[in-house]
């Protein structure tokens, strides 16, 4: 039974990958086993596939007639070719579309040509790709805006963008200046606006001061009176009992009474005036709902029509186990949080994505390879290192290189104490001693015999 289920799944996946409509796939699922990925018309009819559909399927899978190439063959051949993964995927989808005009020879010709072009497009060995990457990010830096704030989409959430954001990423700061999460929702939460909104209130921090209409301490009866905004309570799905519970947490022996008019009377036995005032302040600063540090959570519809949440403030660990949160698709712009929760590879991907998004928002065109290289250099040791004297530039082996960058004297004194030997392997060191650098054309030597 179990085995059958996996076969079924595989077939379904195979079919959708080949572009067979979901409906057809459904029809033949379970009956159909992709034996060499061909099927005869009659066989399909026997499987009680509608005639019109059968025609489609056969066209997709290949009829084995002269000149026409089977989809399976395309897959196999493309997979075998010496191309990068991305190009292979693109080839597969595009070849599928023109399969009708394809022949075995043409397929080979296409692959050969693609391989040739790919080989031509490769980097020359010894190319100084680091410098090119640094220049490619640094040069457009001059064109970026310094305006710190910008709206994310339609929401009222502020996000740091432009040069300050790029610098922030590259500095590997513990916390960005405007942390924010994009929370994807699971199940019905993603489809039901009200459910999504309810979840948003669970995440967004709410203090008593946000929902009170009045809070005052009365010296007559030595207690604090709080009246709440019913409308806000309703909007934030907060029950009165919850508030009472929370209020009791403010201090020892806190007593809460709800008056007939809805007012709350809060007092503590034996209290000085000073304590009374402190109680009032503590009360108004009491978190009654949500996650501390998440100032706002806004419900928006994404491109696929799903509801999702945008938050101002970030706390990945805390939303991790919340019901309704699809954690596998939830992200934050706080890279150090990503390292803690998902690990270094995820951090690398987030660095790339955040940088590319920032550059794109500024309308600057930078090849992803440059950004990728920077992200890889920052994360290669298993922790996110900053670009600068405390990170990559400061961790160099060469004392001369470090001295030429920043904190010259300290680096020299340190090198002397530790008895370092500069082996002159890098660029700066060789420039300093006046030798050709060992990159690019400098890496090659000619020996005359």
């Amino acid at each position: 039974m179990e085995l059958r289920a996996t076969v079924e799944e595989e077939v379904a996946r195979e079919l959708t990958r080949m572009g067979v409509e979901g409906g057809i796939a459904e029809l033949i699922k379970g009956e159909f086993i992709p034996a060499g990925l061909t099927a005869e018309f009659d066989e399909l009819l026997e499987m009680q596939v509608g005639e019109a559909y059968a025609e489609d399927i056969i066209r997709m899978l290949g009829r084995g007639e002269e000149g026409e190439v089977k989809l399976g063959d395309i897959e196999v051949k493309v997979d075998k070719s010496e191309l990068s993964g991305k190009i292979k995927e693109e080839l597969k989808t595009k070849l599928r579309d023109v399969r009708m005009k394809l022949s075995e020879e043409k397929l080979d010709a296409i692959l050969k040509k693609a391989e040739e072009k790919y080989e031509e497009a490769k980097v020359e060995p010894r190319e100084a790709v680091g410098i090119v990457a640094a220049q490619s990010i640094g040069e457009p830096g001059t064109q970026m805006t310094l305006r710190t704030f910008h709206y994310a989409g339609v929401g009222a959430i502020y996000i740091t963008l432009g040069l300050p954001r790029i610098i922030e990423i590259v500095d590997a700061r513990k916390k960005p200046s405007t942390p924010a999460m994009k929370i994807k929702l699971a199940g019905e939460y993603a489809l039901d606006r009200n459910k999504a909104r309810e979840l948003a209130t669970e995440i967004e921090e709410t203090y008593i001061r946000d929902i009170k209409s009045k809070i005052e301490s009365s010296t007559e009866d030595m207690c604090v009176w709080v009246s709440l905004k019913e409308k806000e309570l309703e909007r934030k799905f907060i029950k009165r009992e919850e508030i009472e519970e929370k209020i009791k947490e403010v201090g020892k022996d806190v007593l809460v009474e709800t008056m007939e008019d809805g007012k709350l009377r809060i007092h503590v036995k034996r209290m000085s005036f000073h304590e009374l005032l402190k109680l009032e302040k503590d009360l108004s600063d009491k978190l009654v709902k949500g996650i501390e540090g998440i100032k706002r959570a806004i419900v928006r519809r994404d491109a696929d029509g799903e509801y999702m949440l945008y938050t101002e403030g970030s706390a990945l660990k805390k939303v991790r186990r919340m019901e309704g949160v699809d954690f596998s698709r939830t992200t934050t712009n706080n890279i150090s949080e990503i390292v803690d929760v998902f690990g270094i590879e995820a951090a690398r991907n987030v660095i790339i994505k955040e940088m590319m998004d920032t550059l794109e928002e500024q309308g600057l065109d930078v090849d992803a390879r440059h950004v990728t290289l920077i992200a890889d250099a920052m994360t290669m040791d298993g922790e996110v290192k900053s670009i600068g004297r405390h990170g990559l530039a400061g961790g160099k082996v060469s004392a001369l290189s470090r001295a030429a960058f920043e904190v010259t004297v300290d680096n020299l004194l340190g090198a002397a104490m530790y008895g370092e030997t500069d082996e002159l392997k890098g660029v700066t060191e060789n420039v300093i001693v006046g030798q050709p650098i060992k990159l690019g054309t400098g890496a090659i030597e000619l020996v005359a015999r």
Binding site: S84, I87, K94, V98, K101, K106, A109, K113, K117, A121, K122, V123, E124, R126, E127, A128, V129, G130, I131, V132, A133, A134, S136, G138, E139, G141, T142, L146, R147, A156, I167, R296, D365, V366, D367, A368, R369, T372, L373, A377, M380, L392, A393, G395, S398, A403, A404, T408, V409, M417, Y418, G419, T421, L424, G426, V427, E429, Q435, G440, T441
Partner: protein
């Protein structure tokens, strides 16, 4: 000839012995020159230290000025002083070592448990940690991580390494297992970090921190008493137990112990008795006796910046005792060599006591040359001044001490000596007043020489001033090729290339010298004997005759020479490219406008630099890698960065945007300057509008443009105005605009580059520029103030419909807000909502105004033409000039600051209307009202501040980026690695593709291959 190569640079501290050994002269006199004007023997600038005057010879090496690198001298200091750079470190070392015996206050390995098992031993001998070993460890409540390895250290000793470190020793037929202790663990960590080539600084920092925690020395202490070794007492100690008997012995000796003192057995027959969490007694075995010592208590040491150390405590509490440099040095000397390794130091290379100076090296005079002023007076270098101070005080110190001066005076002088030596090294020490020159200017000490942008490292070693370079203003010339640079004759006569005279160029070189200093001439010749002779008006004829094989001629640069051309800031590699020289009259560098984008240059007074290459290797590299045509595609985004700009785009746009017919002569005129032999068949015949009734053949604008396209070019893309289709090298349909030939986008350029290569692309860009210029000159193109005129009806429409309409709507919004009828947008306050809506409304007003203006101006308008073709400017620019400037903003909001409740006194407080918050309804052409003018200035200021801040920020950002990544390189196996050979990427960019080599940003253009094959 084999050139020597520097393999490495070693750093270390100089020992006093070494300083004396390398010294060429001991220095005792503070004076520099005697009355006779000659340097004083044993003075600061004596002739043993090198030569700085022409004609003299060095007494040490005999070299002349320029040959002798200089030699160090030395000063014997009367008393030791602290080296200011190591003051903090000295404090840390003092704090981490025993005040008495000098050992680092870290614990040795200590005993855990013992086993006697043949199987376990054989495991060890095979260097495996078996399950049984793991079990043994866990039986003793010690967790042994699974990923440990064991290695034999020496006879009967093994070391287990992993997260934790253990030592196993075979003693008395038993295997004793020891915890390696802090000391061995740290030593191993430091060693490991060294191997991995990561900084050991962090580990050393932890050593200092850990060692500073100890308050009692675990190694030394005053001897108390002894007991006989062996027997019951030693057995109990071996079991880490404090037997009653032993306790009794202690008590009879007058050493009271608390209830449960703990015993730790250390390696090599030592025991520590810890009482009340403090090491109290140390038991050492020797002479068959157990000798009991009490641990030496460690006094607190305080460090006061910059160079004072205090010891606090002892018998009288709170008693402070200053540690003089002599005391400090004594303590540092006591630290044994093996312990020094814990600080990451190697005793051969750096002993801690060398950080306290007893002998001061005096740098050679070549390092601190004096300059002779016009008056003939010598002015010494700052370092020399500082050394004079040091010698003076040193002398006074000695005199006073010899005379038996009171301690107080000695201490004062010592302090003064310390001050001078400190400020000799660094004249910007916190809490020390900087030493000043007579004029009051702070002296430039060693540190200041090295540090910062103009310091030795960044200013003189990483970058240098060069010869064979020129700089002047640039101006445009579309008639020279993009890979050429027009060089003024005046400059060409100054810049030279050294040419070795051979048989092949002998005649040419003779001719060049014969020209003398006239343009294609020469400035110097070098004869076979190495003598350099200047070519002058009087000797050039003679020299020209003499020029022979083996000579070297410094000839002027001339047409066809390759040079480097650069504009700062050099933000990316295309900021420096190789151009071919074209000598021209005038005084500016001439540059084809198509190469402006990579340099980010314009002609409003920009200056650029030119460097003449001096070696054949450099010229080859420039030609192959740095040539302009090689850099048409930018590596940043994989698309052309060189291409048509401004008039080039406008010209081709004008040519192709409507159907035109050209007579033969007209066609030739438009194509002049372009290398074309054949116009091709005319499309048809027509009656020329100017001429008679005779039918003449004509060529279309598409034909004309197609003349510059490479034959066989196929391309189809979306232009700004519809699809552009090129088939077989012919423009079939479409208008040529920025997207076709512009820089950054330029689809045609991109395609030509991929398919036809560098040369063809260069030709295409050259040709398109010339074609465009020819055509634009022919039809005429200008833009003036009258081009911003809009007919009265249009004006009225803009004012009434667009602008006034919006103003009314804004008023409506304000009224709704004040009446509290406005609905707040989600997540926003009412006020924010109002502001947002007003901004939107006013933005729309300007848009509308722009649309009206665009319609009224019409496509024939030069401004609209430029905007539409992408040549320059935008519709927004035109809107602001002709219709309405629009809302001014600061930080994305309407202008709201100024007075209380209003921006200017012209408005009522609380006025939220468009006019009161920076909406400029006028156009630039109409002129702004005073308030509008003010608001515009407010908005403009933000932009100014922004650019000023941005340049500095992004400059530093780029410097950091470059510094972090400059060593990364693609190796032969496609991996990207840095200097340690650590892999950064296994395949560059995950697919190994060079961004500048793919197809329009992609690695391979799949669509095109499929289209071609099918």
């Amino acid at each position: 000839m084999r050139t020597k190569k520097i393999k490495g640079v070693k750093f270390g501290l100089l020992s006093p012995k070494e300083i004396r050994k390398m010294s060429a002269s001991k220095i005792i006199t503070a004076d520099t020159y005697g009355e006779d004007g000659f340097p004083i023997e044993m003075g600061l600038v004596n002739q043993w230290l090198g030569v700085i005057d022409p004609g003299l010879r060095c007494k040490t090496c005999g070299g002349r000025m320029g040959e002798c690198p200089g030699h160090f001298g030395h000063i014997e200091l009367a008393a030791p002083v602290i080296h200011i750079g190591y003051a903090k470190l000295i404090y840390r070392i003092l704090n981490a070592t025993c005040r008495k015996c000098g050992r680092v206050l870290l614990r040795e390995a200590y005993f855990l448990f013992s086993v006697s098992d043949v199987e376990l031993e054989s495991d060890l001998k095979r260097e495996v940690i078996s399950e049984k070993w793991h079990k043994k460890f866990s039986d003793n409540d010690i967790s042994l991580p699974s990923n440990v390895s064991v290695a034999k250290e020496k006879n009967d000793e093994w070391v287990i390494t992993g997260e934790k470190m253990f030592i196993i020793r075979k003693e008395n037929k038993k295997l004793n297992i020891y915890d390696a202790g802090e000391k061995r663990s740290f030593l191993r960590e430091i060693e490991l970090q060294r191997e991995k080539q990561v900084g050991i600084g962090e580990a050393v920092k932890r050593v200092f921190k850990e060692a500073a925690k100890s308050s009692v020395c675990p190694y030394c202490g005053d001897y108390l008493f002894s007991i006989n070794a062996g027997g019951e007492l030693e057995n109990s100690l071996n079991k880490c137990l404090m037997s009653k008997k032993l306790k009794k012995i202690f008590e009879t000796g007058g050493h009271l112990l608390s209830k449960n003192p703990s015993v730790i057995k250390e390696i090599d027959n030592r025991w520590l008795i810890t009482d009340k969490n403090k090491i109290s007694y140390i038991v050492k075995k020797g002479d068959n006796k157990l000798n009991i010592h009490c641990g030496t208590p460690q006094k607190d040491i305080k460090y006061e910046k910059p160079t004072t150390y205090m010891e606090i405590g002892g018998e009288e509490r709170e008693k402070k005792r200053r540690l003089m440099p002599t005391d400090v040095r004594e303590r540092l000397e006591r630290i044994p060599d093996e312990d020094i390794a814990l600080f990451g130091m190697n005793p051969k290379n750096a002993r801690p006591e060398w950080m306290v100076l007893t002998v001061l090296p005096v740098p050679p005079v070549t390092v601190r040359p004096s300059i002779t002023l016009e008056s003939g007076q010598r002015s010494e270098d700052d370092l020399t001044h500082k050394l004079v101070d040091i010698i003076r005080i040193n002398q006074r110190f000695m005199d006073n001490r010899d005379a038996g001066a009171p301690q107080l005076i000695i201490e004062d002088l010592w302090e003064l000596l310390q001050y001078h030596v400190s400020t000799y090294y660094d004249n910007k020490i916190l809490r020390l007043p900087p030493a000043r020159h007579r004029s009051g200017r702070p002296l430039k000490a060693m540190t200041q020489r090295l540090k910062g942008k103009e310091g030795r490292f960044r200013g003189s070693l990483s970058g240098k001033r060069v010869n064979f370079s020129a700089r002047t203003v640039i101006s445009p010339n579309p008639n020279i090729d993009i890979d050429e640079v027009g060089v003024p004759e005046g400059i060409a006569k100054e810049l030279t290339i050294g040419v070795n005279v051979t048989e092949r160029n002998l005649d040419l070189m003779k001719e060049v010298v014969r020209n003398g200093r006239k343009h294609p001439g020469a400035n110097y010749v070098r004869r076979t004997d190495g003598r350099k002779v200047k070519v002058t008006e009087s000797n050039y004829e003679v020299l020209a005759e003499e020029v022979d094989l083996g000579w070297k001629v410094e000839r002027h640069i001339r047409d066809g020479d390759i040079v480097l051309f650069n504009r700062q800031p050099s933000l990316h590699r295309v900021s420096i490219m190789a151009h071919y020289v074209r000598v021209m009259p005038g005084k500016t560098f001439r540059l084809n406008p198509a190469v402006c984008p990579p340099y980010n240059a314009d002609y409003d007074g920009d200056e650029m630099n030119l460097h003449v290459l001096q070696t054949e290797e450099a010229r080859a590299e420039a030609k192959i890698l740095l040539a302009v045509q090689h850099n048409i595609i930018s590596p940043r985004f994989g698309r052309p960065i060189i291409g048509g700009i401004h008039d080039c785009v406008t010209g081709l746009f004008l040519l192709t945007w409507t159907k035109r017919k050209f007579k033969h002569k007209e066609a030739l005129e438009i194509l002049k300057g372009i290398d074309i032999d054949d116009l091709g068949e005319p499309t048809g015949t027509f009656k020329s509008p100017s001429g008679t009734d005779i039918e003449v053949p004509y060529w279309t604008e598409k034909q004309i443009f197609s003349m510059i396209l490479p034959s066989g070019l196929n391309l189809q893309f979306q232009g700004k105005a519809g699809d552009v289709i090129i088939r077989g090298g012919e423009l079939i349909s479409g208008v040529i605009d920025e997207a076709a030939i512009g820089s950054f986008k330029g689809r045609i350029i991109d395609k030509v580059f991929r398919q036809y290569g560098e040369e063809a692309t260069k030709r295409f860009i050259n040709d398109s520029f010339r074609l465009a210029i020819n055509y634009i000159l022919r039809v005429g193109f200008s833009f003036g103030i009258s081009d911003e005129d809009i007919p009265v009806e249009g004006k009225k429409q803009i004012r009434e419909e667009a602008v006034h309409g919006a103003e009314l709507k804004v008023e409506e919004l304000i009224r709704a807000y004040e009446a509290e009828e406005l609905e707040g947008l989600p997540g926003r306050s009412l006020e924010e909502t109002l502001e947002l809506l007003i901004m939107q409304e006013l933005g729309r007003a300007r848009e509308e105004a722009g649309e009206i203006a665009e319609r009224e101006l019409g496509m024939e308008n030069a401004g609209v033409l430029m905007a539409k073709s992408g040549a320059r400017g935008s519709i927004l620019n035109l809107t602001q000039m002709a219709a309405c400037v629009g809302q001014q903003s600061v930080r994305g909001e309407r202008i709201s600051r100024g007075y209380q409740g209003r921006t200017l006194p012209h408005f009522k407080p609380g006025d939220r209307s468009a006019n009161a918050h920076g909406f400029v309804r006028a156009s630039f052409k109409d002129g702004l009202s005073p308030t509008e003018y003010f608001f515009h200035a407010v908005g403009g200021r933000e932009a100014l501040v922004d650019t000023a801040v941005r340049t500095s920020q992004s400059g530093y950002f780029q410097r950091r980026l470059i510094n972090a990544l400059l060593d990364l390189e693609v190796k032969n196996d496609e991996t990207v690695r840095e200097t340690r050979n650590t892999v950064v990427q296994f395949k560059y960019g995950e697919d190994g593709v060079d961004p500048s080599k793919g197809e329009y940003g992609k690695a391979v253009d799949v669509d095109e291959i499929i289209r071609e094959v099918i």
